[in-house]
Symmetry: C2
């Protein structure tokens, strides 16, 4: 990339009145740093997303995971392929619908999540969000929640 190494995205300063630009810059800021941190474990932001979804919701079909992350089912195939090869998830046929898989977190997957990935992302997260007061963090989460929750 060009100018987005570690400096803040400068669009913000130019267009501080536009929430859209700010949102994009902020999201890029956080995502870039998380991607950087996850690179050590050879995982992408999206892979981590799959693991987190499975941890939170239990076994799901590929399509359902994709729906929750806004990823197409054909794209999910590759993502699950990689995670399965690394032993972080397993595919087994859904008992009640044998067209679908039941994707499940393995013990190594769960361990990686708890012992490595969560601390790692929490650290990055803290570094970026750490600039904000606790009050502002709560504000931000509440406001963003309203934004994405609406119609």
């Amino acid at each position: 990339m060009s100018g987005n190494g570690h400096e803040p995205a400068p669009t913000a300063r130019l267009l501080a009145e536009s929430t859209g630009w700010l949102l994009n810059d902020a999201a890029r800021e956080v995502t870039l740093r998380l991607e950087e941190a996850l690179k050590g474990d050879d995982l992408r932001w999206r892979d981590y997303g799959v693991l987190v979804v499975l941890e939170a919701a239990g076994p799901l079909s590929q399509q359902e995971i994709g729906r929750r992350l806004a990823v197409d089912r054909s794209t999910m195939v590759h993502i699950i392929d990689v995670l399965e090869q690394r032993g972080l998830v397993v595919r087994s046929r859904d008992k009640t619908d044998r067209r679908a898989y039941s994707i499940e977190l393995t013990e190594p997957g769960r361990t990686l999540l708890v012992e490595v990935l969560h601390p790692l992302t929490a650290e990055v997260h803290g570094r970026v969000i750490g600039r904000l007061t606790l009050e502002d963090r709560a504000h931000l989460n509440r406001i963003l929640g309203q934004l994405v929750g609406g119609p």
Copy 2:
């Protein structure tokens, strides 16, 4: 795409405690709608960004525009190509450094911005951000500004 047509990105509900996910979902929400709105004028979010940067800062080199939008100079070539072909910007050689172009907004470009694009994006923006109270909007902008402005 799969599940991100018009429904809110569902990651948020699952991981409401993680600002990173929320930021991504919110940014995607806004960007998708803006892209949709700009489609009528056959422009992308990023093209609009170039026009806005030029409007705010005056003539700039391709590389400088790219730096401000976090886009590589090789990518800028194509973007400016299209905008120039549509008569929205002009390339002229920089007087003091004849390696560089001076990219300038044309009158049609400025007019399109003022009469069409700004109202359009303001409308979309209002539709998404409109869910928030005026107070929350101010909060959000201030907090995001802190996030992207920091080290």
